[in-house]
Symmetry: C2
Subunit: 147 residues, 2 copies
Amino acid sequence: MNTQAENLPHNNSDLIGMLQRHQIMPTSQRIHIAQVLFEKTQHLSAEQVLDEVTSRGYSISRATVYNTLGLFANKGLVSTVNLDPDRVLYDSNTRPHFHFHNQDTGELIDIDMGNIEIKSIPALPDNTTLDNIDITLQLRQCSNDSE
Amino acid sequence: MNTQAENLPHNNSDLIGMLQRHQIMPTSQRIHIAQVLFEKTQHLSAEQVLDEVTSRGYSISRATVYNTLGLFANKGLVSTVNLDPDRVLYDSNTRPHFHFHNQDTGELIDIDMGNIEIKSIPALPDNTTLDNIDITLQLRQCSNDSE
DNA sequence: CTGCTTGCAAAGGCTTTGCAGAACA
DNA sequence: TGTTCTGCAAAGCCTTTGCAAGCAG
């Protein structure tokens, strides 16, 4: 059902290998954070990661969580989602994809890249290269059960 | 040259009319802010608006700027841009458009809607309607003068 | 006179930073 | 032994809020 999870690490040595391939020393704190993040494709805030790691019985400081998530994002392990100005989300789906964003509930849903096709792209400004395309389909809640 | 400016208000009574059409009482503070915003299509932070209004010789409080920009966004006069997690930008371009975002310089450039074509859109989640499509072409700086 | 608006200052929430101690190669 | 990492607490920054004074209809 969840076709987007196929390239997630399945066990601890997968996880450690993933960190190492990205030039990240696999300390115990980083592994705990990675375990939470890559359990499934999801979008978590730093605070949510802190809470989850803590609730699993591991002690970790807030600063380490923030620093580690910043490091993971820098190394390309996760991407950041800036939809809510009040908090950054870290996205464990490393495959190209887009988002549905329900503005009324805050819910964020991945859209597989194959489901949106872009016909044409304008010329880029001078001295720039295209790094990534972010697409967000902003939704509103409605109660049309039938439609 | 600037084809996106054609629907900007040209004078003070245009501006006041625009506020009134959006159910906003045209107080002097709101007019000063609107004058700055709608002088051209641009992306300004609350602090930039405050500085600009102040530098034009009008006294206005920070709280009023934040509240007014929030009000304008709520009433659909401007849209918000959440690309930089550290500050919200207010976009005075009210026509449908997308953005180039130079991640190295922070520069933000409008893309006219006609320049990107989307072939297909996936089915929406239940009980939702499509409100808006945000597209950002994330760029990196490079020095290929010839390419 | 009544309700909306403004402004000041304080509070709030997320994130970063400085620095000392711990861990690791 | 020297570099890297961690954690605590404090600071920083953007933004919101409470409340009193001002203004408008």
